[in-house]
């Protein structure tokens, strides 16, 4: 399938991802503006209004009181509930952090043989949940004051980087003073290692995003209860492997089954398969 064909077949998702940037990232941050207007808040509308990480840190760190009245906590709950019924559509169709790394990866003319891809979903899953458990462990260490330290939640935050890059594009000086070694390393691992040098450009989403892990856990439960998911029909499959090549999250196993712990319901496989072996829908 040529690049033009891929864009044509997935045009609605790519448009949705562009829209996601304007919905969540300041200075546009349309959703944050709507929330600020509704709540009468004078806060600057940015990606931080709907932080992906802090509420998860509060939850596992025993700071439940911080969750009360938190717009970001409501947002995370909504994303997880949506993933239960429809699959992780936020990750696949709206997330600005994932869309930027995926876009950078797709726009870089690097042959696939120079990109990394873990073919065994068991290893990808193991690394993904392992990093998540580590994130929870640190939240607990910080939250329950097992060791004396400040929160580590924002130390490697790609949302902060994306917001500051957007600030830089609109000429805000804070975008220059923000940068430090930690953020540069995060930028490198997000867009270069996780983006350009990983097939599909979703390396950061796969290994470091706690919201992505929660969404996929919710999706896995929803799938078992018959909610929307990508299903595979072995009778129609002709073993062309186009599905595996097109999947940005390496969710398709060697037997072509879709792993719900990794799938972001982007529907790249359903559009890439010439034999219609993949289908998105409800099924028991």
């Amino acid at each position: 399938m040529t690049v033009i064909e891929t864009i044509q077949k997935n045009r609605w998702r790519y448009l949705s991802l562009v829209m996601g940037f304007f919905l969540f990232v300041g200075p546009y941050a349309i959703i944050a503006r709507m929330i600020n207007t509704a709540t009468g808040s004078m806060a600057s509308p940015t990606l931080h209004t709907l932080c992906y990480r802090m509420p998860i840190d509060w939850l596992f760190g025993g700071r439940w009181y911080a969750l009360l009245g938190s717009v970001a906590a409501v947002f995370i709950l909504a994303v997880v509930i949506l993933a239960f019924f429809m699959g992780p559509v936020f990750c696949g169709w709206l997330c600005p952090v994932g869309s930027v790394s995926e876009g950078v990866s797709r726009a870089t003319p690097l042959p696939d043989r120079f990109r990394l891809r873990i073919r065994d979903p068991q290893i990808t899953k193991g690394l993904r949940y392992g990093f998540f458990v580590g994130f929870i462990a640190v939240s607990m260490i910080v939250g329950y004051k097992i060791a004396s330290m400040s929160s580590v939640c924002c130390r490697y935050c790609t949302s902060s980087i994306l917001q500051n890059m957007a600030n830089g594009l609109t000429g805000q000086m804070s975008a220059i003073t923000y940068w430090h070694t930690g953020s540069l390393i995060t930028l490198f691992s997000w867009l270069v290692i996780g983006g350009i040098f990983m097939s599909g450009g979703r390396g950061w989403c796969l290994f470091f995003c706690p919201l992505g892990v929660l969404s996929n856990l919710s999706h896995t439960v929803g799938k078992k209860l018959g909610m929307y998911r990508i299903s595979y029909n072995a009778d129609k499959c002709q073993d062309c492997t186009k599905c595996q090549v097109s999947c940005p999250t390496w969710a398709i196993d060697t037997d072509k089954s879709v792993d719900s712990h990794l799938c972001i319901t982007c529907k790249e496989c359903t559009n890439a398969c010439p034999h219609e072996a993949y289908e998105y829908g409800r099924r028991r």
């Binding site: 990394l116 193991g126 458990v133 930690g182 290692i193």
Partner: protein, 75 residues
């Protein structure tokens, strides 16, 4: 009798154990040395390393293959 974990699951379990063991270390090291407050010349620099090392170990065979190809192109 010890439960036998099949090959594929065993690999996944190892990946999980290694990643879960290194991430807290990766996050705690910079906190204890006071990174992100400006004292350290490489604030946050050390915390990303164990996570990157885990990825490199997990993908080492693919990296070797890529390195061979890149060298082939250069030569």
């Amino acid at each position: 009798m010890m439960p036998v974990i099949p090959g594929k699951e065993r690999k996944g379990l190892w990946a999980f154990v290694i990643a879960s063991a290194t991430t807290p270390l990766a996050l705690i090291i910079p906190t204890s040395c006071g990174a992100a407050c400006g004292v350290c010349p490489v604030p946050g620099g050390c915390f990303a390393l164990p996570a990157i090392v885990v990825l490199i170990v997990a993908l080492r065979s693919r990296l070797q293959e890529m390195g061979t190809r890149i060298l082939g192109v250069i030569r």
